[in-house]
């Protein structure tokens, strides 16, 4: 009959109260894990899919003047060797080479402004969600020539469908107007108002030739990384490796401040929610455990009267709390992890509640939320709640050890 055994017996003695307390801890952790995993999933999606769609990559390299004056004459000369050295950096997963130019697109049915991107189709298939967003026709393939994929609203304005031809008018590197004929290969729908009415993808080589750009040149090079936490380190590394003033290096947050604000907003709101949840859980656990300690004042008084050292009593009460915290943390983390895993695989469809897309500071967010279970999303909420309950245990054990013996035994008699 050691202290741990006694603590366990005390918990078993009042099974209902123990179950309620463990359930409170477990439920709190479950919600915290699901929240954290959904936040992790949304943020991961924003930082991978959206960065892949909206920007060249997590880190963008371009001519220093290109950002203020997006003229194709301001290109990077040797994107091939630059790409090779970037690919060799630890943490860099993919390197995208892009030529971007603005122009006018015409068809037999209409015309409009267009943002043309020359891309490498196979790289795009691996790094951008756009190839999977084709609604009719197909996406570009390596080896394609004068072919183009268009945003749905742009195609509607031009009244074209896959197989139709369009003319692109743009200024080449010498500032001369050039026109090329392309055949529509596919039409995509991103749901983003800044893309669907204006964006078009063409093969990189074809656009270079059309713009009279030297072989291997590009207006932007994007580096995509697997673990976004290493981004700042990689930016420094790139600056150290190739930073000579002739190439500007930007993290995606500089390229897309709106998306940065959104990810910060998501993270902050989840922190606030998790904080409130923690307070709620601790309050519930505190109430139940305090009730247990107050109800057992007589028992503690007898223990102290018989000569039990207060330290032993403290240890017993703390162990009771620790058992509850550990069981609740394990159950909560397991159940939360399982639910989050389901939400990761199947997704949480909110379209019935929010409509087709969720508009937010100019971005259309998908309505299917996919959680992402990571060690951090699983362990941090469990550890925080566990630690919080242990802190309550410290307060409660002190309270138990301070039980006024005579008063508690007397019960009003003198």
């Amino acid at each position: 009959m050691n202290t741990a055994d006694l603590a366990l017996r005390n918990l078993r003695r009042n099974r209902k109260r123990t179950a309620i307390t463990v359930a409170s801890v477990a439920l709190g952790i479950l919600f915290a894990v699901v929240y954290a995993s959904l936040e992790e999933g949304l943020r991961h999606r924003l930082e991978t899919e959206f960065v892949g769609l909206l920007a060249a990559g997590h880190i963008t390299l371009e001519h220093p003047g290109y950002r203020t004056d997006p003229d194709v004459a301001l290109f990077l000369e040797d994107s091939v060797s630059l790409g090779t050295s970037l690919r060799n950096l630890p943490g860099a997963e993919e390197v995208r080479t892009i030529v971007a130019v603005q122009g006018v697109i015409k068809s037999a049915g209409g015309s409009g402004l267009v943002e043309i991107r020359g891309v490498e189709p196979s790289v795009e298939s691996r790094t951008s969600p756009l190839p999977s967003l084709i609604t009719s026709g197909r996406y570009l393939e390596d080896g394609d020539g004068p072919q183009i994929v268009l945003g749905e609203r742009l195609a509607a304005r031009l009244r074209v469908s896959p197989g139709n031809r369009v003319i692109l008018s743009m200024a080449d590197v010498d500032g001369l107007l050039t026109e090329v004929l392309c055949r529509v290969t596919g039409i995509f729908r991103t749901g983003l108002h800044q893309f669907d009415p204006v964006l078009a993808h063409v093969p990189l080589e074809f656009l270079r030739e059309a713009l009279n750009m030297p072989p291997g040149s590009a207006t932007r090079i994007g580096v995509l990384i697997g673990d976004v936490r290493i981004q700042s380190r990689l930016v420094r590394k790139i600056r150290d490796t190739i930073g000579n003033g002739s190439i500007a290096i930007y993290p995606w947050q500089d390229m897309m401040p709106e998306l940065d604000v959104l990810t910060r907003f998501v993270r902050t709101s989840v922190w606030i929610l998790e904080g409130l949840l923690l307070i709620l859980v601790l309050f519930t656990v505190w109430n139940t455990m305090l009730m247990s300690v107050l109800e057992r004042r007589g028992e503690f008084a007898v223990q102290l009267a018989l000569g039990t050292p207060p330290s032993r009593l403290k240890r017993m009460v703390f162990l009771e709390t620790a058992w509850i915290a550990a069981c609740g943390a394990l159950l909560g983390a397991a159940a939360g992890g399982w639910l989050s895993r389901q939400a990761q695989v199947k997704g949480l469809e909110l379209g019935w509640l929010l409509g087709d897309r969720i508009p937010f500071i100019g971005l259309g967010l998908p309505t299917t939320l996919h959680a992402r279970v990571t060690p951090a999303s699983l362990l941090i909420p469990a550890a925080v709640v566990f630690a919080g309950v242990l802190c309550l245990g410290v307060v409660l054990m002190r309270r138990a050890a301070r039980t006024p013996v005579a008063e508690s035994l007397r019960g009003g008699r003198t």
């Binding site: 003695r13 000569g307 039990t308 007397r410 003198t414």
Partner: protein, 236 residues
């Protein structure tokens, strides 16, 4: 005769809101080794307070209590806890057994606190439970025992560590008259056989008859017992 307990000019006041309620007003008593004595008095006369202070569960407002010649006034909380564990046994009115422990484990609790090896304490306690008539019930939990049986376990727990004195606060208050007689007889037998000094409180004249000496409390003072209360020695 060796003094086990010496109480000198003991007072205890309780504060209730703005008022001071005196519970003990200058109590003096001496208890010798091997005595079987009682504190009597009506409800609110200060019996429990006196026993609590003698047992080191409460502090007096003034006055002194010595246990085996050692002044309790100078002991801190930890020293008092050790004194209670090693030299004082307690029997409470409401049995106050630990509900999660069996009869055997309850009885050996103080021995466990003293750090006695499991085998040794089990031998002591099994013998003791046999003496108090609970052989075969060692593994029962308090809820599986009658009130009288629970009080016998409490008695075994109080004497298991061979204390200098056992303090019993109205040990028969929660049991019927027949059981009360049995409990007092058991306490008396243990007192005689093991030479354990016992001081118990009660206001039941039938119970008090078994005491060899009675300290009658009225309004916090020791006074002559009212007529009708006789000790065994008076009668003999």
């Amino acid at each position: 005769m060796t003094d086990i307990i010496r109480v000198v000019d003991l007072t205890k006041d309780y504060r209730k809101d703005k008022f001071v309620v005196p519970a003990l007003r200058g109590v003096d008593l001496v208890l010798h080794k091997g005595e079987f004595a009682a504190v009597s008095g009506p409800s609110g006369s200060g019996k429990t307070t006196l026993l609590n202070i003698i047992g080191g569960l409460d502090r007096p407002t003034s006055g002194a209590v010595d246990v085996e010649g050692r002044s309790m006034n100078n002991l801190d909380g930890a020293e008092l806890a050790c004194l209670r564990r090693d030299r004082i046994g307690f029997i409470f009115q409401a049995h106050n057994l630990f509900p999660v422990l069996t009869a055997l484990e309850n009885a050996e609790y103080v021995l466990m606190l003293q750090g006695k090896p499991k085998g040794e304490r089990r031998d002591v306690v099994r013998a003791l439970l046999r003496e108090v008539g609970l052989e075969g019930l060692e593994n029962r939990y308090p809820r599986e025992l009658s009130g009288g049986q629970q009080q016998r376990v409490a008695i075994a727990r109080a004497v298991a560590a061979r204390p200098a004195i056992v303090l019993a606060d109205e040990p028969t208050a929660n049991v019927d008259a027949r059981t009360a007689g049995g409990i007092l007889d058991l306490m008396k037998r243990l007192n005689e056989e093991k030479q354990v000094t016992m001081l118990f409180s009660s206001h039941d004249p039938e119970v008090l008859k078994r005491a060899k000496r009675i300290f009658h409390l009225r309004d916090g003072k020791i006074c002559a017992p009212p007529s009708g209360i006789e000790t065994e020695s008076d009668g003999s």
